[in-house]
Symmetry: C2
Subunit: 202 residues, 2 copies
């Protein structure tokens, strides 16, 4: 989920105020879903007027798309510190970084799931969802390709397929984790097992 | 997703009429989500009175739990024909059977995702969701164990972990498939790759 989070009007970095409004939007989506999202609730969560939200985002649809980009940026921020080190270690840390005992990460993950599922019926969300998913898949694939270039991972590995499978597994495991069906430790052990299977020792 | 779908009052098999009402419930959940589900819409879809639905299911909460069980039974029916043959082939066919170009399967998958995500905040759904997920995981693990008993799969494989990972991957891949981000063929190829990695040739 790695599209850079820029102001769509002028491509300047988003302001702190706008970021705070998007944090509130993500929180409300995580709790109430997308279908039930009312701009009034976002305004209440953020402690601002509804008019201010419309001033910044224009309409509800733009607010949702901005929230989707913001979720990607947040995920980028909490998984990115993990990509140093050899490719195998980096891939594992990036995958495990998606599931952490942290309220912001839980909210981010829940809101991502809500927006992804809303896109089944709301086609306006799809291009952004697709771009975000592609960036995420490409990021994981890029770590595999770096390992291949460095010689630590087998050249025969299909980096793109590994990126697709590991990101889809994270999505499925996150839903299970958010619903309390697996603990953080169980989710990590299962994800680590998947990384091991995708990257067999040479 | 394999709990048997019985009438909770008398443990007799559910009637055709009740089954038709649950089919409608699944369809409405798939389209409108759980939070937005109104019993009136289910009645309209089924062409019956709201009173009849309350007669059969008592209240909205029981209707949702019955729908969750019904989804499991439906998934059982469309993946179960695939479990013949050697364990590797059976596991692959069962996993691929979850994603098919079939409107009922798409609805089932979408409704399952909606109920699973609703369970993040609706604790009344959790025990049933947990039981259904466990049955599904156990079913996949059981195929692996059968292969181990028959000697076609390595004894060292962790059947339970394989069941957890493959079912979670199916959930993540299904969401992506339902949102149109991967085609049925792409999803099948990716899932087949995961089965290959989980069950290395001896």
């Amino acid at each position: 989920m790695y599209i850079r989070d820029v102001d769509s009007q002028n491509e300047a970095p988003i302001t702190d105020r706008k970021r705070a409004l998007l944090d509130s939007t993500v929180r409300v989506i995580a709790r109430k879903g997308v279908r039930g999202l009312r701009v009034e609730e976002v305004a209440k969560d953020a402690g601002v007027s509804v008019a201010l939200i419309y001033h910044y985002f224009g309409d509800r649809s733009t607010l949702l798309l901005s929230a989707l980009l913001h979720i990607g940026q947040r995920a980028h921020d909490y998984t990115r510190p993990n990509v140093d080190g050899d490719a195998r270690t980096a891939l594992l840390a990036t995958v495990l970084g998606e599931i952490q005992d942290d309220e912001e990460i839980r909210e981010n993950s829940a809101a991502w799931g809500e927006l992804r599922d809303a896109a089944i019926f709301d086609e306006s969300l799809r291009p952004t969802l697709e771009a975000q998913t592609r960036e995420w898949v490409d990021d994981l694939a890029g770590i595999v390709r770096r390992g291949q270039a460095e010689g630590s991972l087998a050249a025969a590995l299909d980096a793109a397929a590994i990126g697709q499978r590991l990101s889809a597994l994270v999505e499925g495991m996150s839903s299970r984790w958010l619903a309390g069906l697996v603990s953080t430790a169980e989710a990590h052990a299962l994800l680590a097992g998947a990384v091991e299977r995708e990257l067999p020792e040479r």
